[in-house]
């Protein structure tokens, strides 16, 4: 081994990046006040923000602690006619309006910064962000600026924009939501006033209220009830009618019966001026049922939004190369097979095809989940959705639009989401037979009493219908669910479908992706054998490289200063060579080193440990050996042990090679037949579907949960009973998942499973309360003991019990502390 002169290096303390607050590794700070940056993207964002007088952003304590990762796209397609036709609306004053889905939004400071885009780009009138949906509505003057300029600015700030394609559906949903809120508000206001009127009547019965006043309150109650039935309550009648026409019964049928019977009897008694009126019960019933329905709808709807976000991934336009060398932009869906298109560096490839000209690095993470870039050249096949990193490519089109591989995967996602058997919620299962029981009991009550006293038969039957109305039952599940979902969100676990929690409480299969889920997802230096004095030499050589290995070295040895390297040459797919401090340094794969230094490599090769070996040669002698791999998350083994102990069977489903997958799987206790390697996105989905089929149908099938992070997992996530997207995953997989986690690591998975069990226990408790009240109500009503006063007290109290129960039961609580 050559004697090495230890290069002079002064270790410097790490300083925090002025923009993102992460450590700026290996950067010198000239003086205390000067800004420092961890990367050029942060520098760009910082300059842009301060130049427009928005420096206050950097004073926010809670601004995003994440390096800015702009996509670097030109966003030329955002100016294209076809794009504007689809997504941009122009109002009568000539202002254009677009809805953009943004990546990377998550805090109050993000809102502040994004809504100040009008200050950054002249010509932008307004930018409004919905932080929950990660969508911004931007209004601008097309005469003053272009949409691509706005998109580039958002991108430079770290919020990569995509056109939001679900505009029409979102508008429809917004209208439905507003209509429901109006109904709830109207019925709520009426219900409280009807109760006040009823209070006057009930107290009046004990006291001496004159007949005129009594009659006044009766008529007022009637006057309040008619609008509540005609407007907010109408949905129960139309839904019950639809059910009867389809010759089925559901919860709305007895509700409609109860409302009709009680209102009719109440009206007769009001006109005749004697007897109970029931109107307060009717109004409260309508209000509480609407609230339950709204909560339930909101919980379930988030899950159906799933696939919309996916379609933002493919670019809308392609640059067609004509024979004479000129280019025209055409919508990507309309590119003919065999046409030749050009894709610039930094652009997403819009079609599937073969490279006809050019060499570049391709980021295929969207399809394969691989973290590194891949070298491609003439003759290689490229797929739509992958990102062209470094140089222009000419691509001969093989498939475009809906025939592309990405579109087929997305279609599969959509299909599996649709085909997924709806989970029959516990409350719904109970309700279906409760309906029949209640109707039968009502008939029995009437038959029992009618021989003795026709008027009493009416009153007792109505009392039964009101007392057994599935009010508390209808509230039991949605309330407990929304309480659980709210608490989970505060713990960094976002549950989108309320059925997800119920499914997760039935352990079945837990299928896990490897890269990014069980492992950290980035290339990490696992071992290094060699003199420490070599480190600065290696860092010098790798200082400017974007290769994952280079980044791995830099992350492993932060804060080490490196002297500049000269005469650096990169061999793509091989290694790097250069001169540092007079030493010839060579670094690369064994194959690359063997080509440079024949005969000396074999002895140094490590056993096949699933790691990527890197050799370092200094002045002609192999001086050091490094192994790179993807480190397993520190909490993975413990979390998996806990979950297995709770009855889950686990499976590792990876797109990575067998050697690496088995290595990780064995370390985490997966049995050999529970490890599937080399799985394509399509295969992953098929595996999960097979598992779902294997666990069987029935009303309460065990859960098959898929945990993943990449677009390559999206189809599998959608195919599973419950799909879970982990922290740092692609937006697409987070979008299709039923549960998205913003906390790092697998501990969140354990918390989720635990929380799901506790939520279900809470729901069962709620349902038990509601049923107990119903049984009590039935027995009292049938024996003729339910006066309107008792009914008026019992109904709100039963609902209140359920509300309090949901409020004080605390699923996900241990994790929030």
């Amino acid at each position: 081994m050559a004697t090495l002169v230890a290069p002079s290096h002064t270790p410097r303390t790490d300083v925090a990046c002025t923009h993102c607050g992460l450590p700026a590794i290996g950067v010198a700070q000239p003086d205390a006040d000067a800004p420092v940056f961890c990367c050029s993207a942060c520098a760009t964002a910082f300059t842009m923000i301060t130049a427009h007088g928005l420096g206050a952003y950097h004073a926010f304590g809670d601004r995003r602690l994440a390096a800015v990762r702009p996509s670097g796209r030109g966003f030329g397609d955002f100016d294209h006619e076809a794009f504007h036709e689809r997504y941009v609306r122009v109002d009568e004053r000539g202002m254009a309006r677009v809805e953009l889905a943004l990546e990377g939004v998550h805090c109050a400071s993000c809102i502040w910064l994004i809504e100040r885009v009008p200050l950054l780009v002249t010509g932008v009138a307004r930018a409004e962000l919905d932080v929950r949906l990660n969508r911004a509505i931007v209004t601008w003057n097309p005469a003053e600026t272009s949409l691509s300029a706005i998109a580039r600015t958002l991108d430079a700030l770290g919020y990569t924009p995509h056109p939001y394609r679900g505009g029409a559906r979102a508008d429809l949903r917004r209208r439905e939501d507003r209509a429901m809120l109006v109904r709830i508000g109207v019925s709520g206001a009426i219900a409280t006033n009807a109760m006040l009127a009823a209070l006057a009547i009930y107290t009046g019965e004990f006291d001496t209220m004159d007949a005129g006043s009594m009659q006044l309150f009766r008529w007022i109650s009637l006057g309040l009830t008619i609008p509540t039935l005609a407007w907010p309550g109408r949905i129960f009648f139309s839904s019950a009618l639809a059910a009867l026409r389809a010759r089925t019964v559901h919860m709305d049928v007895p509700i409609a019966f109860a409302l009709t019977a009680a209102t009719l009897r109440g009206t007769i008694n009001t006109v005749s001026g004697s007897g109970p009126i029931y109107f307060d019960g009717v109004c409260v019933l309508v209000f509480l049922l609407l609230v339950g329905r709204f909560l339930q709808a909101r919980g379930q709807r988030a899950a159906t939004d799933a696939t919309e976000q996916l379609f933002a991934l493919t670019p809308a336009t392609a640059r067609l190369l004509e024979r004479d060398g000129s280019t025209t932009d055409v919508p990507a869906d309309a590119v003919a097979v065999q046409a030749l298109i050009s894709v610039h560096a930094g652009e997403t490839i819009p079609v599937d095809g073969d490279v006809e000209w050019g060499e570049s690095l391709l980021d295929r993470a969207i399809l394969t989940g691989e973290s590194g870039d891949v070298q491609i050249g003439v003759g290689d096949t490229v797929y739509a959705g992958t990102l062209n990193r470094t140089a222009e490519l000419h691509v001969r089109v093989k498939a475009s639009g809906e025939d592309s591989r990405l579109a087929r995967i997305l279609a599969q996602v959509d299909e599996s989401a649709r085909r997924r058997a709806p989970v029959v919620l516990l409350a719904d299962r109970l309700a279906s037979w409760l309906v029949v029981v209640v109707l039968a009991l009502a008939v029995a009550t009437f038959a029992l009493w009618v021989r003795r006293d026709a008027a009493a038969a009416w009153d007792h039957t109505i009392a039964l219908l009101i007392a057994t109305c599935p009010c508390a039952l209808a509230l039991a599940t949605p309330l407990a669910m929304s309480a659980a979902v709210g608490r989970a969100a505060r713990a960094g676990i976002f549950v989108k479908g309320s059925d997800a929690l119920e499914s997760l409480s039935r352990p079945g299969w837990l299928v896990l992706d490897k890269t990014g889920t069980l492992t950290v997802g980035e290339t990490t230096l696992v071992h290094f054998t060699g003199d420490d004095a070599l480190r600065p030499l290696i860092l010098a050589l790798e200082a400017t490289s974007t290769h994952p290995i280079a980044a791995g070295f830099r992350r492993a040895w932060p804060g080490l200063a490196a002297d500049p390297a000269v005469r650096v040459t990169h061999t793509i797919g091989g290694g790097v060579a250069g001169v540092v401090n007079g030493h010839h340094v060579l670094l690369g794969s064994p194959r690359f080193i063997a080509a440079q230094l024949p005969g000396s490599v074999e002895a140094c090769l490590p056993a096949d440990d699933g790691l990527t070996p890197v050799l370092v040669v200094v002045d002609g002698v192999i001086a050091a050996r490094a192994g790179f791999g993807d480190a397993i998350r520190s909490d993975a083994a413990e979390s998996l042990r806990t979950l297995r102990a709770r009855g889950w069977r686990t499976m590792l489903l990876s797109g990575d090679t067998a050697a690496v997958s088995v290595g990780v799987g064995a370390a985490l206790g997966f049995a050999p037949d529970e490890i599937v390697a080399d799985a394509s996105p399509e295969e992953k989905a098929a595996r999960v579907q097979a598992l779902v089929k294997a666990v069987g149908g029935g009303r309460t099938p065990p859960c098959v949960a898929m945990v993943g992070d990449g677009v390559n997992d999206a189809a599998a996530i959608a195919a599973a009973t419950v799909g879970i997207g982990v922290h740092g995953g692609a937006e697409a997989s987070l979008a299709t998942a039923d549960v998205a986690m913003t906390r790092d690591g697998l501990a969140a998975l354990v918390a989720l499973e635990h929380g799901a069990r506790r939520s279900m226990r809470l729901i069962r408790l709620n349902i038990a309360w509601a049923l107990a009240y119903n049984i009590l109500g039935v027995s009292l009503a049938m024996s003729g003991h339910v006066t309107p006063l008792v009914a008026a007290i019992m109904m709100p109290v039963s609902s209140l019990t359920v509300v309090l129960c949901s409020w004080f039961g605390k699923p996900f609580a241990p994790e929030t502390r």
Binding site: W112, V131, V182, G185, A189, G212, L216
Partner: protein
């Protein structure tokens, strides 16, 4: 008790006015996003 004939209808009119305000607020989209405005206001003064 004849004052009730005046007071109760007046109360109902007040309710109707408040309800009208609520319906207007919902229809103009003020209830669409209950999260962002709350966060927005924290930063406006800086």
């Amino acid at each position: 008790m004849s004052v009730l004939y005046l007071v109760v209808p007046v109360a109902l009119v007040i309710v109707a006015v408040a309800l009208g305000g609520y319906v207007w607020a919902v229809r103009s989209g003020q209830m669409d996003d209950l999260e962002t405005p709350g966060l927005r206001v924290i930063r406006d003064e800086l």
